[in-house]
């Protein structure tokens, strides 16, 4: 175990492994808050972990709990969760090559933070290693967090006190920044973000993000066919 860890640390570089663990620590704490809120909303103690294992998608899980907890119908909760998770479709295409040796496990672990971490790596071998390392860590931390949260109950629900709500967008920003050095990608991403933010108050929670893809319609208007990475 220890040797395997050292080997992983050597292949990834200590900096990358530390970064992955930092993100996962934050994910674990958010998991605690997820478990606490879900059980606090009246769902059984096993519900957070059932969701964290079967669905493995934070935003959709919070939304599902929110709708069920508010007395909404399970059908609405499932549909809302599916709509929020539709963004994983292009993620799957972007990382198809990365997970080609283990497509089922790779698809299962395809979570926002993992996708962002993997895409921030250029080298295919490193990208694969980062994807599966971060994915496996996230699975463990998210599930331990969900379980602890359910057991602890409402002791820790306000993770905002620690600024953790700012940590998730910050992680994404840090990881996509290399891709945003490309001017074309940056322009499209900024237009997309403006669209998503503008329509967020009008649409069901979590779905506005999908409309950011409308920015890609500008692609043919942009000069230079250079590969955006």
């Amino acid at each position: 175990m220890r040797a395997a860890w050292r080997d992983l640390s050597e292949r990834l570089g200590p900096g990358t492994l530390r970064d992955i663990l930092l993100v996962n620590l934050a994910v674990g704490i958010v998991g605690v808050s997820y478990g606490a809120i879900t059980v606090g909303d009246g769902l059984p103690l096993w519900a957070p972990n059932l969701m964290s294992i079967v669905v493995l998608g934070g935003a959709s899980q919070f939304l599902f709990t929110g709708i069920i907890g508010a007395g909404g119908s399970p059908v609405a909760a499932v549909l809302a969760g599916l709509l929020v998770n539709a963004r994983h479709l292009p993620f799957g295409f972007a990382l198809a090559d990365t997970v080609k040796n283990r497509p089922v496990l790779g698809s299962y672990l395809m979570i926002d933070e993992v996708v962002a971490f993997a895409l921030s790596e250029k080298d295919p071998v490193r990208r694969r290693l980062v994807f599966f390392t971060c994915g496996a860590c996230l699975w463990v931390f998210w599930n331990i967090g969900s379980l602890l949260g359910g057991l602890l109950g409402n002791a820790i629900t306000d993770t905002d006190t620690f600024g953790l709500d700012a940590a998730f967008p910050a992680v994404l920003v840090a990881l996509v920044m290399p891709a945003l050095r490309d001017r074309r990608t940056r322009t499209l991403a900024l237009v997309g973000a403006v669209v998503a933010v503008a329509v967020t108050p009008l649409l069901p929670a979590g779905t506005a993000v999908l409309l950011a893809l409308a920015a890609l319609a500008l692609l043919p208007l942009m000069r230079g066919a250079g590969e955006a990475s």
């Binding site: 530390r18 930092l22 993100v23 934050a26 769902l43 059984p44 519900a47 059932l50 969701m51 079967v54 669905v55 493995l56 599902f64 399970p74 499932v78 599916l82 998770n85 539709a86 994983h88 479709l89 292009p90 799957g92 295409f93 198809a96 090559d97 080609k100 497509p103 698809s107 926002d112 006190t161 620690f162 600024g163 953790l164 709500d165 700012a166 940590a167 998730f168 967008p169 910050a170 994404l172 920003v173 840090a174 990881l175 920044m177 891709a179 990608t185 499209l188 991403a189 973000a193 403006v194 933010v197 108050p201 979590g206 999908l210 950011a212 890609l216 692609l219 590969e227 955006a228 990475s229």
Partner: protein, 106 residues
């Protein structure tokens, strides 16, 4: 409150649907050749989605405004990331800024 069988069935449905979204790309990849331009378009889509996700998560909590503390924390992260600060510094500075501003009552 929702019964256990309904809850389990709902979780499984959401899980299967989510898995299907994630798996279309990887499973098709083995069967059809995806051209480099499509691959590059998908990469760009992923980046656009991640940036939109970061922007909406920075500004909103669900459909209502998240407040200045979170927005400021993420703004600090944007500046630090642009200036190539280390990852740990970016994330801790964002959380620290948001937490600090809240402690001050923002």
């Amino acid at each position: 409150m929702i019964s256990a069988p309904v809850l389990i069935a709902s979780a499984v449905l959401l899980g299967l649907g989510t898995f299907a979204f994630r798996a279309v790309g990887p499973l098709l990849h083995a069967r059809i050749r995806v051209s480099p331009s499509v691959q590059s378009l998908m990469s760009m889509s992923a980046t656009v989605l991640l940036v939109a996700l970061a922007a909406t998560a920075a500004i909103f909590d669900g459909s209502s405004p998240a407040g200045w503390a979170r927005v400021s924390g993420v703004a600090v992260a944007v500046v630090l990331a642009w200036r190539r600060a280390p990852f740990v510094v970016i994330v801790l500075a964002a959380a620290g800024t948001a937490a600090g501003l809240r402690a001050l009552g923002v």
